[in-house]
């Protein structure tokens, strides 16, 4: 357990040691907040003050939370992981007496939570200044651990997705696609309630809504314990998938060589 904890801390330290990178990311986040706040303000207004039960304050908090949860991760990492698996660079990590994917994910999680915290501060300040307290009330507090879980699910899924590098060989732009899936099916761009029924039903059967929609919903509309269970469930599933992908990659390396 100790190894994973130190990986986590190392990851967090890595993020803190690159304040320039962090600033750029947060600046990017702020721009998106500005854009979406303008967009939804106009949209909600044009719809009589509420869309599917989301008032503007709810919508703004929703966007801040959903976007914050997503911006904490670096899907470009998929490209790096894919490359390392494919080129056999991961062999070095296999020499350590810990699970390769577990170790990596611990480190990535450390980094991501630092980013999440930074985004959280900016997001809360931005939203509060514009519309006051989150409509979710006390339930909004659950959004904090929920966002952390959402980030973990995201990371695990990215590691699993990186396995695509095996077959694609040139997975350079594939992270781009992964990102778009989260944007849409994860509810980052639009709360799932705004989807046509068939689409929102589909989205609920996929892991992506656990990454953005669920934590954002807590902030916008209050706690719902059932959703936390869903998130945890997806965390288990995606972690297992990531583990399987990495094991298969390691086995392949052992057979084929670096």
């Amino acid at each position: 357990m100790n190894a994973y904890r130190s990986a986590f801390v190392a990851g967090a330290a890595r993020a803190l040691r690159a304040p320039g990178e962090l600033t750029v990311r947060i600046a990017f986040y702020a721009i998106i907040l500005v854009v979406f706040s303008a967009l939804w303000s106009v949209a909600v207004d044009a719809n009589g003050g509420s869309i599917e039960g989301y008032t503007f304050p709810a919508m703004l908090w929703y966007v801040a939370a959903a976007e914050g949860a997503v911006i904490a991760t670096k899907p470009r990492m998929i490209e790096d992981i894919g490359y390392e698996i494919g080129s056999g660079g991961i062999a070095v990590e296999m020499l350590r007496p810990v699970s390769v994917v577990g170790f990596r994910m611990a480190a990535e999680l450390g980094e991501a939570l630092v980013r999440l915290a930074a985004a959280g501060v900016v997001g809360v300040v931005f939203a509060w200044a514009q519309v006051g307290a989150p409509p979710g009330g006390a339930g909004a507090l659950v959004a904090l651990p929920s966002a952390a879980i959402g980030v973990a699910v995201n990371l695990a899924a990215q590691h699993a997705f990186a396995g695509a590098a095996f077959w694609l060989d040139d997975a350079k732009a594939s992270w781009f696609l992964y990102q778009k899936v989260i944007f849409l099916l994860g509810g980052m761009l639009l709360p799932l309630e705004l989807f046509p029924d068939w689409l929102s039903d589909t989205a609920r059967w996929l892991p992506f809504w656990a990454m953005a929609y669920i934590p954002a919903r807590f902030v916008a509309r209050g706690a719902e314990p059932g959703l936390l269970l869903v998130q945890t469930g997806w965390l288990v599933v995606s972690a297992a998938a990531a583990s399987a992908v990495f094991r298969s990659g390691e086995r392949r390396l052992q057979v084929v060589g670096g």
Partner: protein, 256 residues
Amino acid sequence: MSVLWATFRTALVEAWANRRSFWIQVSIMLANDVAWVIFWLLFFGRVGAIRGWDASRVLLLFAILTTIAGIAMGLLANARKIGELVGDGQIDAALALPVRPLPYLLVRRIDTALLGDLFFGPVLFVLAGAPTWERTLVYVAASLCGAAVLVGFLVFMGALTLFIGGRGEQADLGFQAILILASYPLDVFGGVTKVLLYTAVPAAFVTGLPTELVDDFEPATAAGLVAAAAFFVALGGAAFSLGLRRYSSGAVWTRA
């Protein structure tokens, strides 16, 4: 001039050389673009028209955006990499040749993935832009101007590296900012932001004005767009030239 054309042709040949990679990247880009179209359709499907913008108008904007991206980031892929090229000392290779460094660098590389956008944009325009001969002409001309604004802006941001050092981080941020802001209807933005979009982050000239011109051509607006294009191209070129002089006086220590 013929040297630039020869370099550009070579870049095209290179982009096409690895066939498998080409198709994979283009396909992924197309899928990405389709995802955005889906978003807009869902959005307007539920929200309805806002401030004179509906699905078809936004898709027109998106068609223009992708066309411009295809040109400025696909065909002239180094436009947004100027900061990095300076920071890594890679412009030295261009300085060692009897060519004008900036134009050479700009045509030196083509980003295959963005060629997907270059294909998608016109197709989307044909499907959703209600193309007539007049509208198509305006679309092409306005896209070229918008691309010029974007290239000029990106080169300017990257050229700052010649003055302040680093590897172009400020250019990356500027690039992300202008791309995001250019992706959304201009009219949703309030006063202060809107001013920004006409000046520091000229997204208004990238997609705002072109979209307006296609729907409602006004000579004054068109002149404004052309002027903006000329301005930003000149700005980028001047920043790069001045920066080069500073670079060769070695005032900024680069990694190389």
